[in-house]
């Protein structure tokens, strides 16, 4: 697609025509994507304002509307205790594509401000029903809207607007959409999605009631939440011609020096001067006087100049080692888990942080292969695992034998979490991450770290097991020798072998005492 075509049709129209790439390719995928997008919006809304999320999801099948066997019209209701949306923004936030608070450089789950609206759009296309939005920011009123999207014009159509008195000071948002979907086929993925979300958001309560009335509940184990990200300006490395054009259009700056220091991340006066000298642009030049060609040259220089400081990672909100560990322990209850957060790093001007974990035994199932859990900006990624950079690292770059790991027989799960202001997804559907060398390197280094810990755990465990087996053997046979020899010698009193058993214990002397007491 070329840029021109993109602007000739409305964004809503564009996504309507290209719903496949946004994760709505079939009825099963559509219901999964809808639930997922709405939950992610809810999580973002709660976290950003520091409320431990309480999210309630209910899917009901509308009877009598069944089109084919599995495909049915479902009502999906997702409620949260987030910040709520101010009444005047509700129509645009839910009835217009590319509207919303997310089109900024700050780590958030969604990237395009697209997912939630896409779900509404899809519902409208398949069922011709409006979306119902109930929200309050905790002030005196609760607002209820029924909206549709004018697809050609990318504008909300308000069908109904009511407001109620907010007596309890409730804040949050409830969204209800009707979509055509295939719940039976989507169910395993939806449950898996919730479970993995619970891993990566151990501070959230997730409640899900499915069309058969089955209740799934994932309870928080902590109220501690990751530090919310701060907004940042773009880093020069990550800029492109289009974004600079937009900046120039709105900038109040009168010269290039202030333009550089005002609009870019980690660019101070000295850096700006040096860079402009490098780019051959006068610091005094007026930004609005730059021609198209100048802008192209500027962007090129930004990419070539190596004097910029790395972007800061303040705009990132990694989960943190404790929370990731808590999430893994809570949902999978492994025997061993090791977590590692890497220091912030940068690719193409975007800061990112990689967090990895490895878990062994306990509740981790044996599958004959390493279970891979992938997360990006605290979203679980469930599809197209084999195309993901983490898969490549786990299956191609790490030689597990070096870490005493037998991939085929051991219950092992690997977790990778990448946070960045821009996750390099390979598709709009947000399911797998491209193998950017910088990211690959960080995942690899992190996994090697935790794999080494697993390795020494396994070695220790094996030693203890061997020791236990060894003691078991003596415990089993020494009393027998005593018994048989007593019989054979025609003696009455069987000799006590306990002192001998004590002698065979190398370490873990308590262990043997315990087992004898049993």
């Amino acid at each position: 697609m070329s840029r021109e075509v993109f602007y000739e049709i409305s964004p809503a129209d564009f996504f309507y025509r290209n719903k496949d790439i946004a994760g709505f390719s079939n009825p099963a995928r559509a219901i999964y994507s809808t639930i997922r997008e709405l939950i992610e919006n809810s999580l973002d809304a709660s976290e950003l304002y520091g409320y431990p999320p309480d999210i309630y999801v209910r899917v009901t099948a509308d009877s009598g509307l069944s089109t084919t066997e599995n495909i049915n019209v479902y009502t999906i209701r997702v409620g949260d205790n987030g910040s709520g949306v101010p009444a005047r923004h509700i129509p645009s936030a839910f009835g217009q594509v590319f509207y919303g608070s997310k089109y900024k450089l700050r780590q958030s789950r969604g990237t395009f401000g697209l997912g939630g609206t896409m779900a509404i759009l899809y519902g409208q296309i398949t069922t011709n029903s409006p979306v119902k939005v109930i929200s309050s920011t905790g002030d005196r009123a609760i607002h209820e809207y029924e909206l549709m999207i004018d697809i050609q014009r990318n504008r909300p159509i308000v069908l109904k607007h009511k407001s109620y008195k907010n007596e309890d000071g409730w804040h949050g948002t409830v969204i209800e959409v009707k979509i055509e979907g295939d719940y039976p086929r989507a169910m395993p993925k939806i449950i898996e999605y919730l479970k993995q979300t619970a891993i990566v958001a151990p501070y959230a309560n997730l409640t899900f009631v499915d069309p058969k009335g089955r209740l799934y509940r994932f309870e928080r184990v902590t109220e501690e939440m990751p530090k919310p990200p701060t907004e940042t300006k773009p880093h020069p490395y990550g800029s492109d011609v289009e974004s600079i054009k937009r900046m120039i259009a709105v900038t109040p700056c009168k010269d290039m020096l202030s333009f550089m220091t005002t609009h870019f991340h980690k660019v101070g006066r000295i850096t700006a001067e040096k860079f402009l000298a490098f780019a051959g642009i006068s610091p005094k030049k007026r930004p609005k006087s730059l021609t198209n060609n100048d802008i192209v040259e500027l962007v090129k220089a930004m990419k070539e100049y190596d004097g910029f400081r790395s972007p800061s990672a303040d705009c990132l909100s990694p989960l943190g080692e404790n929370l990731l560990k808590a999430g893994i322990l809570k949902e999978l209850n492994p025997e061993f888990v090791s977590v590692r957060q890497r220091s912030p790093s940068v690719y193409s001007g975007y800061p990112f942080i990689v967090e990895v974990a490895i878990a062994y035994g306990g509740g981790i199932p044996k599958t004959g292969d390493i279970l891979l859990y992938r997360f990006a900006n605290r979203i679980p990624l469930l599809y197209d695992e084999a195309s993901d950079v983490s898969w490549k690292v786990v299956h191609q770059l790490i030689n597990w034998k070096h870490y005493n790991v037998d991939v085929q027989t051991m219950p092992i799960a690997v977790f990778t979490h990448i946070c960045s202001t821009k996750i390099p997804y390979r598709s709009v559907g947000k399911e797998f991450i491209a193998d950017i060398p910088e990211i690959e390197r960080e995942i690899l280094a992190g996994l090697r770290d935790v794999a080494r810990e697993l390795s020494s755990y396994l070695t220790r465990r094996r030693a203890i097991e061997m020791e236990k087996k060894r003691i078991d053997v003596f415990e089993r046979f020494l009393p027998k020798i005593a018994k048989f020899s007593t019989e054979l010698a025609k003696e009455k009193q069987v000799p006590d072998v306990k002192p001998l058993l004590k002698k065979v214990v190398k370490y873990g002397a308590e262990e043997i005492d315990e087992s004898q007491e049993k």
Partner: protein, 356 residues
């Protein structure tokens, strides 16, 4: 026989006392016995059998790899002691299964057979002495009166012509006392068909012989019985088997024992004679024959280098085998009629053997 049993009992009990004493002293129990590794087996020309050398090994229950077999060994000693005390017998297979009831399981029968051999080595008695017998049985026929020593039959006498198929050489027979015989020789026969033929043809009368069917390589109880017939009754023993390396070796094992039983004495009959069928008989009697196959030739090569085959008739016959590359079975004589072997071959051969 009874005296021997009480010796075995005492030896076993002493073993128990040793272990018991070690435990009381707070020591990990251990035993010491001659090593049965091939490097410790040598051929004793004087005894004319394989014997164990001076190398000894220790089994120590302190060792994680030893403790299980050690326990099994003491268990087996206990079982053997009980068997003798109760006058019962058991088989190799039986022992393998019995262990499971005592939670000292063997992983397979070869392991339990091994422990039985360990006990033999440790106390210097054959398993038959502690009432454990193999499954395979051979048979005996002829004018020999024996008296049982086993419970319920104790004191009972039978004559071994009592059954036309011969009498099975089992634990009861192996431990019986010899009372009386009119026989002059013992004739050991490899094949069942030939054994039956000799009974039917009343060859035992003709040669005044006790017939023993070895059923291939004879079990140790049978070898021991043959020795006793030779020693106690002073009967010359003649061995008659197929004309091939394997048959030849059956005779050899009866005469000078096997390397597997190097730890045991009293299983050999050094004065027994290999009476045929020889390789040279194939030529002399124009016996129907087959070519020696690869396995036969390989075995022949091994025997050629074996110290037990170093001299006399053995070297001569190996030489003939090598030359004619042929083999024949005992039954080959049937080509000349059913009675050829009894009427012609055996009388001639036994006559020759007297002056051997």
């Amino acid at each position: 026989m009874k005296a021997k049993k009480s010796e075995v009992l005492k030896t076993l009990q002493n073993l128990g006392k040793t272990i018991y004493g070690q435990l009381l002293a707070g020591e990990f129990p251990w035993v010491e016995m001659p090593s049965r590794s091939t490097r410790n087996i040598r051929y004793d020309r004087e005894l004319r059998q394989y014997v164990l050398g001076d190398k000894r090994i220790r089994r120590v229950s302190r060792n994680i790899r030893h403790i299980r077999p050690f326990t099994q060994l003491i268990w087996l000693a206990d079982v053997a002691h009980q068997l003798i005390e109760m006058g019962k017998t058991s088989t190799l297979r039986d022992i393998y299964y019995m262990a499971q009831a005592y939670d000292v399981d063997f992983s397979d029968q070869s392991e339990s057979d091994d422990i039985i051999t360990d006990l033999e080595t440790l106390i210097s008695y054959a398993r038959e002495d502690f009432n454990i017998f193999p499954e395979e049985r051979s048979a005996i026929y002829g004018d020999l009166t024996i008296e049982y020593t086993v419970p319920r039959y104790e004191g009972k006498r039978i004559n071994l012509t009592i059954h036309p198929d011969g009498v099975m050489i089992g634990p009861a027979l192996a431990t019986s006392d010899f009372i009386d015989t009119s026989a002059d020789i013992v004739l050991c026969i490899e094949k069942g068909a030939m054994f039956t033929r000799l009974i039917e043809e009343e060859a035992y009368k003709k040669f005044n012989a006790i017939l023993i069917h070895t059923a291939g390589q004879p079990p140790r109880a049978t070898r021991h019985l043959i020795r006793r017939l030779n020693e106690e009754l002073n009967l010359p023993v003649y061995i008659f088997c197929d004309a091939d390396p394997w048959g030849m070796h059956i005779a050899q094992v009866i005469i000078s024992g096997s390397a597997n039983a190097a730890h045991l004495k009293e299983l050999t009959t050094p004065d027994a004679k290999w009476a045929g069928v020889w390789a040279s008989d194939i030529i002399e009697f124009k016996l129907p024959s087959e070519r020696l196959n690869e396995l036969d030739l390989k075995r022949l090569k091994e025997l050629e280098r074996d110290p037990r085959y170093a001299e006399g008739i053995w070297q001569r016959e190996i030489h003939v085998f090598n030359r004619i590359q042929k083999k024949a079975e005992q039954e080959a004589f049937s080509r000349y009629g059913l009675t050829k072997i009894v009427d012609d071959y055996l009388p001639k051969r036994l006559d020759e053997m007297k002056s051997y």
